[in-house]
Symmetry: C2
């Protein structure tokens, strides 16, 4: 039997719902004109994606030194055996969270992978939210 799968594009709300259902993703940014990527934990808050990352890391430096930095953020849940699952990408403006109370609240919700005093918190506004889902073909 030839195994067939269907690819379905996801509407914005479904893409954001799936993103909120998993704890980690990958932030994608431009660093010295080169594409760069780093896996991080995330939460959704007020319709925005909030991540915690090392201040010395490139994305924080990139965002911290520009009035507006556009990043992409990807999360997925793909079964590599059945080759089914979903992937969501949001693209939008990222900003450093500077308010101490907001920062403390996000830091309590986002556990870093390794304890680090130099952490900072970024909010990413999902100006674009796209995604796809691959499912087994149900037709005949």
């Amino acid at each position: 039997m030839h195994d067939r799968r269907m690819l379905e594009e996801l509407p914005r709300q479904e893409a954001l719902r799936l993103l909120a259902s998993v704890p980690m993703g990958r932030v994608v940014f431009t660093q010295r004109a080169l594409p760069a990527i780093r896996p991080v934990n995330h939460i959704l808050d007020g319709g925005e994606v909030v991540i915690r990352t090392n201040l010395s890391s490139s994305v924080a430096t990139t965002v911290g030194h520009q009035p507006e930095a556009v990043v992409a953020y990807e999360a997925d849940d793909i079964d590599t055996d059945s080759r089914t699952g979903w992937s969501v990408v949001i693209t939008g403006v990222a900003r450093l969270v500077r308010d101490p109370l907001d920062r403390a609240r996000y830091e309590s919700l986002l556990r870093p992978w390794v304890e680090n005093r130099g952490d900072c918190v970024l909010r990413i506004r999902p100006d674009i939210a796209t995604g796809f889902r691959v499912t087994p073909y149900q037709g005949n």
Copy 2:
């Protein structure tokens, strides 16, 4: 007990070995000056990362219309419960595989997620290969 983890940087060879041990990753590229990302399957061949992607997809268009396009490619295996695992990123020049024999061989090795006649094959040269591994802290 305070759970502690250790972050270890990976040498190039170990980063490439881990990348070769998993079937999928995410290709990261710049599209109209914006960061973009797409999950794909990969193999390592002759020290280069080979991916198959839809010709109409942005990365193929980006690579196909430039003499040299630099992309990043990320793969990871992270346990979100224990927050341990690894992530590898390679960065380098991507080129369309135009030789019909090479292309046919790669297409037989790289199964696409959805059957598509418009597939093309890209080779990415790992000019930079970095990564990290997070493990439980073994000290006292």
